[in-house]
Amino acid sequence: MNAVQHQGTLTMTILRYRLLWLLAVLAVPASAHHGSSISYDTTKQWTTWARVVQFNYKNPHPTMTFEREVQGGVVEPWVSELLTNPSMLARQGWTKRKSEDALAPGTRVKLTLATSRAGGFSGIVMGIQGEDGAPIVGGGRPAQVPDLDGVPGGLQPEGDTMLPGQPVEGGAP
């Protein structure tokens, strides 16, 4: 094995290990995240096209506001947080400037989302893809989830499931 081949093998090994790590991280969002997984129903994800309004590359997790145009030309203003955090992004090569450039205001992106359990236009971003389909800012996730582009509200929580810890009348949670 020559030096070039060795370097290639080494790079593949590193990528493989990082992929393993990423899968492990994504497998336990409930525990790894800033307590947010309870706020969102990550078991019911969906995708949509959206346009970035503002992206904030900050701890403990980046946040993003975006708009999505739905049937009838209505524009929904959403707020969201990202699953990952700046230190993880930076270690994957998504540094602050690169991430902010990739998600500059007005950028059209395909998002994989989970809606908040309170409902409304609030969600957690599980994955982002650019218009060319390439994963950006932390990578995309396999789109084995319903595509609800243009559907008003996207995928909203169903039923009367009470939010965990939500204060109830006459007492603490």
Binding site: S31, S39, K58, T63, S122, L163, P164, P173
Partner: protein, 328 residues
């Protein structure tokens, strides 16, 4: 029986040696006749398993067991290093934490614990939380972060036990060892503490200001560094699950380096005001990360991963919206 015991004790050294030789010879003979290799009788090393069991480090190079300096992480894959299964938290426990043999609380301990409202662990009232009665109730009471009161979500100091046991993805630490002390720095919240090895004694807590990371002194027991920490600020949580800690708590850490690329700690918290017995945590293991592997754009080392109150406040607005609070 008494005379037998006396005769055994009184046996001359030469006779005991002869008996030992005979026993070894018998064992070898039987082993040879049965074709059983003697090594088979040795207990096999446990397979590397989450929770600090076994050791996946295959590095056989010689190393200094008393030198802990270096960059250490519990997710070595993130840095392109080989996975470390034993570095992960025990299987079946929610997230990461002190874990281990969780003791019952005293009345005061339970009172303080009930005041703490964690947002991590199994969701309060969920089917999983109700089913996992094998877990302590403290791990089954997570509520929406917007309604919780985790000090981390206000960027308050995490405190020593929580810093050590934090195993969030990618969080790393560095140990810088000198003759008289070890400086331990933590990536998440960019915090640090000193472990003094200059022979000083633990301070009388009453004479000092309490500190989130306490006062740490250490001594060597063989190749194990035994660190004793006292003088804690009792506003901290032991871990993300909201277990309280009093200013009378004593944290003992037993650090060792079982192989070139592994660092391990056994933690025991003694806090009789809040807990009915000492609490031994699950074993925590770190993997050594080469300097060049923990680098971004050629700049190596742990990150300045601070919790900035204004950033946290911005994040919490989004968090609150997810709980149905704030502007729609």
């Amino acid at each position: 029986m008494a005379s037998m015991a006396r005769s055994t004790i009184a046996l001359p050294t030469r006779s005991r040696w002869s008996m030992t030789c005979a026993a070894v010879a018998r064992t070898l003979l039987i082993s040879a006749l049965l074709g059983v290799p003697l090594v088979a009788a040795q207990p096999a090393a446990p397979a590397p398993t989450p929770g600090g069991i076994g050791n996946s480090d295959s590095d056989t190079r010689s190393y200094d067991k008393r030198n802990f300096s270096g960059l250490w992480a519990r997710s070595p894959e993130l840095y392109g290093e080989a996975p470390c299964p034993e570095c992960r938290e025990p299987v079946g426990w929610p997230g990461y934490g002190f874990f281990g043999d969780i003791p019952a609380r005293t009345e005061e301990g339970q009172r303080r614990m009930d005041l703490n409202k964690p947002a991590r662990g199994l969701e309060l009232g969920s089917a999983e939380a109700n089913a996992r009665t094998d877990l302590d109730s403290g791990l089954r009471r997570a509520i929406l972060p917007a309604f919780g009161n985790d000090p981390e979500m206000r960027c308050e100091p995490l405190g020593l036990a929580r810093l050590i046991t934090f195993a969030g993805p990618g969080a790393a630490m560095e140990l810088i060892q000198q003759q008289d002390r070890i400086l331990q720095t933590f990536e998440w919240t960019w915090d640090f503490r000193e472990i003094w090895m200059d022979g000083r004694r633990s301070p009388n807590v009453e004479d000092y200001l309490p500190r989130f990371n306490g006062y740490s002194v250490a001594r060597w027991e063989g190749d194990t560094l035994v660190v004793t920490s006292v003088g804690f600020d009792d506003r901290q949580w032991i871990d993300q699950h909201g277990y309280p800690l009093s200013s009378e708590a004593v944290l003992e850490e037993r650090w060792d380096r079982p192989s070139p690329n592994r660092l391990r700690v056994q933690l025991t918290l003694t806090d009789p005001l809040l807990y009915t017995r000492p609490w031994q945590a699950s074993t925590k293991v770190w993997s050594l990360i080469p300097k060049e592997s923990m680098a971004i754009a050629g700049w190596s080392g742990i990150l300045e991963d601070r919790c900035v109150p204004s950033d946290e406040s911005m994040f919490n607005q989004v968090r609150d919206r997810a709980a149905g609070l704030g502007e729609e």
